[in-house]
Subunit: 340 residues, 2 copies
């Protein structure tokens, strides 16, 4: 069945169930001009927004299923909330769709959104559905909360801090490459690309452990580390040998005769966290959450990043992927969108 | 200069000034993973989202300038907040743009957004900018506040209520027709289409005067009145002779040998308000805000609308424009998008 057969109201009726997973804060949900919700006393609100465009951020049947698209459109937003130290609570969404889209595909996309919302207790409060003559465009705006004064910004890094990351870096863009090559296997990489994990639990622990600065790795480690350095007015010195790279990514890079560091530094959509904190606090964090790795230190200086490697120290430029300059006609980029 | 010449970061730098018009509630503005803001004790939060697609919701140079597009993308969201009785406070936005777009056009679009945000004291907290190979798609998610328990829903209409509307209905779709015909004059109509006025002041007065049910007229009076009737489980009886229609719209309809009621009932994007309230409360409201007109009454019944006209009473179906069924290849619809 096409969306044009069922009509907009039929479509809304088909997807509106199973959207509330945190009922206590909803006053007015789907079905009015606006949604109304309660906030928690003592908490500040976080707002984020992220868009994915068919053909640019994903290629159906090649790099993603419709389920993956829905899941990831929410995941990228929840990652931004995690990167402030917050708890996600609600979202609203907008989809621009073609009239010839199949209802089954759209329902699958909503199933992906609902699955991740259920997992993290996030309400789908409503949205907007419009016609597009071109690619599907999905925009999610998500909200969250963080204890007043406790949001972790990019700008708080201090000389003497440890620089650390969560889990491994580069898997998602490695997975994208696997999918674009149509290669078999490398499940860890392709899962990292298709169904990324927003690091909400770790974000909350970073608030508890007095983390100084925090970014999610949506545009590659080079870009994100430079953002912290620039916003904080410090120098980050990263030790390449200490950066956690998965065996699968190393294996894929070796099979392709490519350099795995390209995926780590210039890749994107890992949605892991990069953060800086006092060494003692980092040790305490690691006791509670072992999947974090110290990869460098913060020094006084002027907003740049150095990479130590084989006894040398070279400037690491913020060479993350740039949407407007690097997009070829048929390429899919390392493509998380940057907030203004 | 093209957007591809300046790059994404250059673009962000070019538009990020003059975005905070309500500084007291901003904790973290543009430039981090998420924006952080304070809410007001005793208030509940309202969230809305609305998308406009180039070629579907507007045709540049014909129905809108880029300034108008930015202005209206915000106005439609503020209207949804007004339609809950709320005060708009913040927004985040996402634009999917073509790499060959001219920076001057984009800057103009942001100027339109900033102008209406300044007017209503709304902060632009951040956003997302992605590449689109097709039409420009702009999505705004806006937030507002309303006193706890005081949001006005569609579902509160009561038998005995007065049904009323603000100002005149139908001007916007009349203005769209004027613009599509390339006709001269009819400034009131074309302004109503290009730079609609969100009825925030009236929405706040409706909260103060105990309004029972409220919708903004984004999809025509037929659709919106039916939404109230259906959500409230009542019958609305409207008197066609009492519905306020501007002389300009009557003049345009006469010149076109068309029926002005088509614009009133099936048009859209007026962003006026339709509401129901106790007769005594309506009288008190009218003392304070004269530009409202009683157009009917609420009766007990089963969720439908009757139109009285020339001594007859006929069923008025919710025949507002439907995005998916009515869109021709080159037409521009009556096109406010419906919330799910």
């Amino acid at each position: 069945m096409k969306i044009s057969d069922i009509g907009e109201f039929g479509f809304i009726d088909a997807v509106k169930d199973n959207t509330i997973f945190r009922p206590q804060s909803v006053v007015v949900g789907i079905g009015d001009d606006g949604a109304v919700y309660k906030t928690t006393a003592g908490m500040e609100q976080i707002a984020v927004i992220d868009t994915m465009v068919e053909g640019s951020h994903f290629i159906i049947g090649k790099t993603a299923s419709w389920y993956d698209v829905g899941y990831k459109a929410v995941a990228s937003n929840l990652s931004d909330i995690a990167a402030m130290g917050g708890v996600p609570t609600h979202l609203v969404l907008s989809t621009a769709i073609r009239p010839d889209m199949d209802m089954a595909d759209l329902t699958e996309m909503y199933d992906g959104m609902k699955a991740i919302c259920r997992k993290y207790g996030v309400n789908i409060l409503g949205g907007d559905t419009v016609l597009s003559k071109g690619s599907l465009v999905i925009t999610v705006a998500a909200f969250g909360e963080v204890e007043a004064g406790k949001a972790i910004c990019r700008s708080g890094a201090k000389a003497g801090d440890v620089v650390a990351v969560s889990h491994c870096v580069g898997d998602s863009s490695g997975g994208l490459d696997v999918l674009l090559h149509g290669a078999e296997g490398y499940k860890r990489l392709t899962q990292a690309h298709k169904l990324p994990v927003p690091q909400i639990e770790l974000g909350r622990l970073l608030v508890a452990h007095h983390c100084h600065s925090l970014n999610d790795i949506s545009d590659g480690l080079a870009s994100e580390s430079n953002e912290i350095a620039k916003a904080s007015g410090v120098v980050l010195v990263l030790d390449r040998a200490r950066i956690p790279v998965s065996p699968e990514l190393q294996q894929w890079a070796a099979a392709q005769h490519t350099d795995c560091w390209h995926y780590v530094f210039n890749g994107g959509e890992d949605y892991e966290l990069i953060f800086t904190m006092a060494p003692r606090d980092f040790d305490a964090l690691q006791q509670e959450y072992p999947d974090v790795t110290a990869i460098g230190t913060v020094e006084a200086g002027k907003g740049c990043v150095y990479l130590q490697h084989d006894g040398q120290q070279t400037l690491l430029p913020p060479s993350g992927w740039n949407h407007f300059r690097n997009e070829g006609e048929h390429t899919i980029g390392y493509n998380d969108a940057r907030r203004t």
